[in-house]
C-alpha cells in the first residue's frame, strides 16, 4: 500500500490531529466524535451548519470548516457514515437559538445516522433542519434506489448556505437556499484508477491499463460502466454531455464550472480538463462566470475527476462570492 499511514485504524484520528495542530486559533478538535468545529462556534446569532459523511473525501468536510463555510464536521471512518452519536453530540455542542442545519449527502448510512441523531437531539431540545445534497447524474433517479448520490456539488451548497448563515439568515431561509442550490447543481465523475482505503490496504477494484470507469461516486465503488481509456477531450465531452443535458443547462445560462480532482490527479491535468470544458460550454452558448479547479471532494488517492455545473442567479452568485476562511489555504 503506497500511502502515508501508521496504524490504519488511527488514520482518521491522526489526520484530524494534523488539521487541528495546523489551525490552533480557528478550530477546535474533539477526538471522541471525530469533530472539527470552529473555535468561535456556536454563536447565538447564527445557525450552525454541520456536515457528516465518511472520511476519505478531504478537503471535504473537515478541512472546509471555517468562517462562511461549515461550523463543524464529524466524519465517520473512511467511507463510513459517522455513527449516530457523533451526529447527536455534534448537534448538541453546536446548538444555538437559531438552530442547527444538517447538510447531508444522500447516502443510506448518512441519512440514517443523521435521522437518528436528529431525533435524539430534538428530544433534548435542539432545533434541527435538514438539506439533502444529491447532485450526481451518474445515478439514475430511480424509485427503486435511495436516489442520486451527493458528490462534489456539496461544496456549492455549503458555500452559499455558509455565507447566508454567516450573515445571520434564519434556518428556514437556509433550507430554502440549500435546496435551491442543490436543485441547479449537477455532477458527473469518472476514474482512471481505483483507490486504496488504508484499512483494506489494496485497491477497491482493479482497472486494466487501458480501462476507465465512467460514473463513479466518491467511495471507490465502481461506476456505471467500464470503458476503454480515452483521451482527455473525449472524457470531458462525455461528462459534460451527461451534466448539461440533465438539468438541462441551456444557451444563455450563466454557470459555475468545477473540475474536481478525486485525490490522485495533479492540478496540471485538472486545468487541461478545465480548458476543454470551458471551450465546449462556450460553444454551447453557456457562460462560465465562476470556476473552481482543484481537489474539493475526493475519493482517497483515486486518479480521476468530476465535472460540476451550477446554474447561477444573483442570490447564488452573492453566496459564492462572499468571503470565507477555511483550514485549507495556500498562504
Amino acid at each position: 500500500m503506497k500511502k502515508f499511514v501508521n496504524d490504519p485504524r488511527q488514520f482518521v484520528a491522526e489526520m484530524l490531529k494534523g488539521v487541528a495542530l495546523a489551525n490552533p486559533d480557528t478550530l477546535r478538535y474533539v477526538p471522541a466524535y471525530n469533530l472539527i468545529m470552529r473555535a468561535d462556534a456556536p454563536r447565538d446569532d447564527k445557525v450552525s451548519v454541520i456536515q457528516g459523511s465518511g472520511s476519505g473525501h478531504e478537503p471535504a468536510h473537515v478541512m472546509i470548516v471555517g468562517k462562511g463555510m461549515l461550523d463543524a464536521a464529524c466524519p465517520g471512518d473512511v467511507f463510513a457514515a459517522p455513527p449516530m452519536d457523533y451526529v447527536l453530540e455534534t448537534s448538541k455542542l453546536l446548538a444555538t437559538p437559531k438552530g442547527v442545519l444538517h447538510l447531508i449527502n444522500n447516502y443510506t448510512g448518512d441519512r440514517m445516522a443523521f435521522d437518528m441523531g436528529k431525533e435524539m437531539a430534538e428530544a433534548e431540545g435542539v432545533r434541527i433542519e435538514t438539506v439533502l445534497v444529491d447532485d450526481d447524474v451518474a445515478v439514475a433517479d430511480s424509485t427503486f434506489t435511495i436516489g442520486r448520490r451527493g458528490v462534489a456539488g456539496n461544496f456549492f451548497v455549503i458555500k452559499v448556505v455558509g455565507a447566508a448563515a454567516e450573515a445571520g439568515a434564519d434556518i428556514d431561509d437556509l433550507v430554502r437556499l440549500g435546496n435551491k442550490v442543490n436543485s441547479v447543481t449537477r455532477t458527473m465523475g469518472m476514474a482512471l484508477t481505483s483507490c486504496t482505503p488504508p484499512a483494506k490496504g489494496s485497491p477497491l477494484f482493479e482497472l486494466g491499463d487501458d480501462e476507465m470507469e465512467i460514473g463513479v461516486g466518491i467511495h471507490g465503488e465502481p461506476g456505471r460502466r467500464r470503458e476503454k481509456l480515452a483521451d482527455a477531450n473525449t472524457i470531458i465531452d462525455e461528462l459534460l454531455e451527461a451534466v448539461v443535458t440533465d438539468l438541462p443547462y441551456e444557451r444563455g445560462d450563466d454557470v459555475a464550472l468545477m473540475i474536481n480532482g478525486l485525490g490522485g490527479t495533479p492540478i496540471s491535468e485538472l486545468y487541461l480538463l478545465y480548458g476543454r470544458a470551458h471551450e465546449q460550454l462556450a460553444a454551447r452558448g453557456i457562460n462560465v462566470r465562476r470556476n473552481y479547479v482543484g481537489d474539493y471532494c475526493t475519493s482517497l488517492d483515486m486518479a480521476g475527476a468530476s465535472l460540476t455545473l451550477v446554474k447561477l442567479d444573483d442570490e447564488i452568485v452573492k453566496g459564492l462570492a462572499a468571503p470565507a476562511e477555511i483550514a485549507i489555504r495556500t498562504f
Binding site: 463510513a80 457514515a81 447516502y107 445516522a113 482505503p197 477497491l204 471507490g220
Partner: protein, 213 residues
Amino acid sequence: MTGNPMAQAEFVVRTIAQTAVANEKYFGDLDAVVGDGDFGYSLARGFEVVLADWDTFDRTDVATFLRKIAVVITSKVGGTSGPLWGTAFLRAATTAAASPDLTGGTVVTMLRAAAEGIQARGSASLGDKTLLDALIPATDEIARQLELGSDAPTTIRAAATVARTSADATAGLEARRGRASYTGERSIGSVDPGAVAVAVIFEALADAWPTAS
C-alpha cells in the same frame, strides 16, 4: 443450551461478535466488489468494543442486556451497518422485554422484530439484495423447524443451511439498496456482504451450539 435465558443471550451475542471480528477482511473484501469495502471494518470495530466491554453490560435481564449491546452498536459502528444492526438489536430487546422466558417462539418473534426494524430503518424489502435476504428465510426456517418439533441444534443448523443458500442466491439479484445499488446491473453476479455475514454468523452458532449446550 437450555434453561438460563441470559446464558443463551450471552452465547449468541458473543458468537456474533467473535464472528464479526474474525471475518473483518472477508466481509470487507466482499463489500469491495461493488460496494466501498468498509463493511468488515465497520462491523469489526463495533463488535470489538462489545467484546472489550463485555463484563460491563448490565445483565438485569435479557432485554436490558440486548439494549446495552444495541447502544454500543449504534454509537460505535459507522456506515449503514451501525444504524441497521443497532436497530435490529434494539427491536429484539423490546420483544425480549415482553417475553423474558426466551422460548423458541420468542426467538422467532425477536428475529422477526429485528428484520422489521432493519426493513423500516433502511426502507428495504426482501429481494433488494441486503442482509434481509438471508435473515428472513433463516427466521422462517427456524419457525418451520419449531413446528416440526426439532431440537435446538437441528433447528439452528437448518437455519444456517438456509441462510447460506439464501446468501449465495443474492448473487442473482440486482442491488436496490445501499452503496451497491449505484452500480445497477453490475451488482448482479456477486453476493451481498450483509447476507453472507448473516449466513456466516448462523453457521458459527450452529458449529458452537453442541459444546455450549
